[in-house]
């Protein structure tokens, strides 16, 4: 058993900076858990605390049921892959992979067979006698993985292991890491700031912001049922479009546009019922906004087009919606070209809208998300 339990974990540095606030959740045995969030959200700090490389100010950490708050990293039976790979430059690939086994005092014959096995798994067999300086980025990353898997530890910790690779190799390694993890079935915590990595690799994803856990859930649930405005905007690319709106009965007023919300929405969000001039934050994902001339809808708005990015399979249409724009609080948000308040819609490639047009936009009103303007939590 190698489940990892975090209970009210706090990290306060010497300068009084409170990096992690009451972090509590369980990582199940064999689960692939991803910590994701913008820069400075505390995801790497949390990982390093689990590794034993950072002290825990308060709270309880258990690995496989054992209380490990004050246990040395070497005695936690966990392996870690670093962002910089941290390969030992004076050792060959073989010696790098063998090092943790030597430290564990395993017999030479067993070390040799386990190194060979790891090398075969990671296709490193022909590189075993090379030094890290002679390897490419992708090969170094594999060696770092080899050093982790050869130990057969209780858990793998990975701190942005793909961030130094180019985009193509990243996609390839992403699939390989996920496949190795499934094959070995070892509890894994993977830290990334890339939400695509998080969504494609994790069994569950923990979204963090400012040292506070926002939501832990499956990628599908995070996307479809975000707990708050931050998660709604952080998960998904392009981000969910968020605006202040007014709900009166079944009518939603978004700037100068108004449309009816279908009855079904009130069935699964009962607390929206009976609203009278209720201020809400409304969220709509880009794929739920279409060209009304191609896919008409009863919920329609019109908005000036500021930019069209034709990607072949779809067109990203930037719209200037005249409702108050909502900042989701992601410090890494890239300001949209031209206007940070522009909404992005994912139109069919058949759409003929051009920058400067006033587009008729069909909104899939059943897929709208609603949040409280003050608490910014989801309204159900």
């Amino acid at each position: 058993m190698s489940a990892i339990e975090l209970r009210n974990i706090n990290k306060v540095y010497g300068n009084s900076f409170h990096a992690l606030h009451d972090l509590s959740f369980d990582i199940r045995d064999g689960e692939f858990m991803v910590f994701v969030g913008p820069s400075g959200c505390g995801k790497s700090t949390a990982l390093r605390m689990i590794a034993g490389l950072e002290s825990i100010t308060s709270g309880e950490l258990r690995i496989g049921g054992r209380f490990v708050n004050d246990v040395d990293p070497k005695d936690r039976d966990i392996a870690m892959v670093f962002q910089s790979y941290a390969l030992y430059p004076h050792k060959t690939v073989r010696e790098n992979i063998a090092f943790p086994l030597q430290m564990a005092g395993l017999p030479k014959t067993e070390i040799a067979s386990r190194v060979d096995e790891a090398a075969r798994t990671l296709e490193l067999t022909t590189l075993l006698d090379r030094r890290p300086a002679l390897l490419s980025g992708g090969q170094r990353q594999r060696v770092a993985m080899g050093r982790a898997i050869v130990r057969k530890p209780a858990a793998f910790l990975m701190d942005e292991p793909l961030s130094n690779l180019d985009a193509k190799l990243r996609v390839q390694m992403r699939a390989e890491i996920a496949s190795i993890q499934r094959k070995l079935n070892v509890t894994t915590i993977y830290v990334t700031h890339d939400q695509v990595e998080a969504m494609t690799m994790g069994d569950r994803v923990a979204v963090m912001k400012g040292g506070v856990l926002q939501q832990v859930d499956t990628p599908q649930n995070l996307y479809n049922r975000p707990d708050n405005v931050f998660v709604a905007a952080f998960i998904g690319s392009p981000s969910m479009n968020l605006y202040e709106a007014v709900l009166n009965g079944r009518t939603l007023t978004l700037g100068s546009n108004s449309f009816e919300i279908p009855e079904r929405v009130f069935e699964y969000r009962p607390s929206l019922n009976g609203a009278s001039n209720r201020q809400v934050i409304v969220g709509v994902r880009p794929e739920h906004m279409n060209d009304a001339t191609i896919r008409p809808s009863s919920a329609e708005i019109s908005a000036p087009v500021t930019l069209v990015e034709a990607l072949g399979s779809e067109s990203m249409v930037h719209l200037n919606i005249d409702a108050p724009w909502v900042d989701a609080g992601d410090p890494d948000t890239v300001v949209d070209i031209g206007d940070e308040r522009a909404a992005v819609a994912r139109f069919s490639p058949k759409s003929t809208v051009r920058a400067g047009d006033i587009a008729r936009v069909a909104v899939d009103a059943e897929e709208l998300h609603f949040f409280e303007p003050v608490t910014r939590t989801s309204i159900w």
């Binding site: 966990i78 564990a104 050093r147």
Partner: protein, 278 residues
């Protein structure tokens, strides 16, 4: 074509300037070398000649047959080796901790090391004399080793700190995750990675002690006199043995020159090691 020719002229000018610089560095040593192979009669001729009329090894024979110089060489070697070992034993771990576990106090510690390098040796001579006298270590190898170490440790500390600045913290962390204690991580991973930097620091520390004159003059007499003192004594109230002095100086400089030439790649590599993080 014109462009290529202009480039060549530039190249010649740069090489000529480099040659002038090298000659200005090397001239005193070349003059020492030339004087050491002149016959005794030619050494003090007026006007002096740069090149020897006849090559003679008499000066070398004379210094090697004297009892004082070989003994002084042995003292110098013992003091320099022990100073190097002791300085590195103190400075390498201290520099690692000061750079990798940075706190306000470690910054002050390195600053203090820098300040002690700025203090003139002569001002420390008297307190060192008093200290070693009270410890009964005057005119002993351990006494001179301690004195030289006090001067060499700040240098070694500053050099090693610069080298350690270039070592990523993750290297130690990876070793700890792989089953090492902090000390094992330092011994099995960090030290082998730093071997080039340690070699450079060892060489500079060795040279500092090997060439040291003032403390040796103040703190030793007959028993542990080092070679620089014996070489200086060729100029005495009884006369100036110029030829023997230059021969002894050449012999004394040879080990350092040979080692430096042999390690020149590591030295240049080591000196720029911390400049750019890989």
């Amino acid at each position: 074509m014109r462009r290529a020719r202009r480039f060549n002229i530039n190249g010649i000018l740069v090489n000529a300037a480099a040659l002038v610089l090298v000659l200005s560095y090397a001239l005193p040593y070349v003059y020492l070398l030339m004087t050491s192979i002149k016959p005794a009669a030619d050494v003090q001729q007026i006007p002096p000649s740069f090149l020897p009329a006849v090559v003679s090894l008499d000066n070398f024979r004379e210094v090697l047959q004297s009892s004082a110089l070989p003994k002084a060489f042995a003292s110098s070697l013992a003091v320099a080796v022990l100073t190097t070992v002791l300085s590195l034993a103190v400075a390498v771990p201290a520099a690692y901790v000061a750079t990798q576990y940075r706190r306000r106090i470690t910054t002050l510690f390195l600053l203090f090391a820098l300040v002690t390098r700025m203090v003139p040796s002569v001002s420390l001579g008297v307190p060192l004399f008093q200290l070693l006298k009270s410890l009964g270590l005057l005119d002993t190898i351990p006494g001179l080793v301690l004195a030289h170490t006090s001067a060499a440790v700040p240098l070694a500390l500053l050099l090693m700190s610069a080298f350690f600045e270039g070592v990523p913290k993750e290297l130690e962390e990876a070793a700890r995750m792989d089953g090492c204690t902090r000390f094992q991580a330092f011994r099995k991973i960090i030290l082998p990675v730093m071997i080039g930097g340690i070699a450079v620091t060892a060489l500079f520390t060795f040279i500092t002690s090997w060439n040291e004159f003032l403390y040796a003059l103040l703190l030793t007499s007959e028993a542990t006199k080092t070679a620089p003192i014996v070489i200086a004594e060729y100029n005495s109230v009884y006369g100036l043995a110029w030829g023997a002095m230059t021969a002894a100086a050449v012999l004394y400089s040879l080990p350092v020159i040979v080692v430096t030439l042999a390690l020149q790649r590591q030295i240049v590599g080591g000196l720029t090691f911390g400049a750019v993080k890989g």
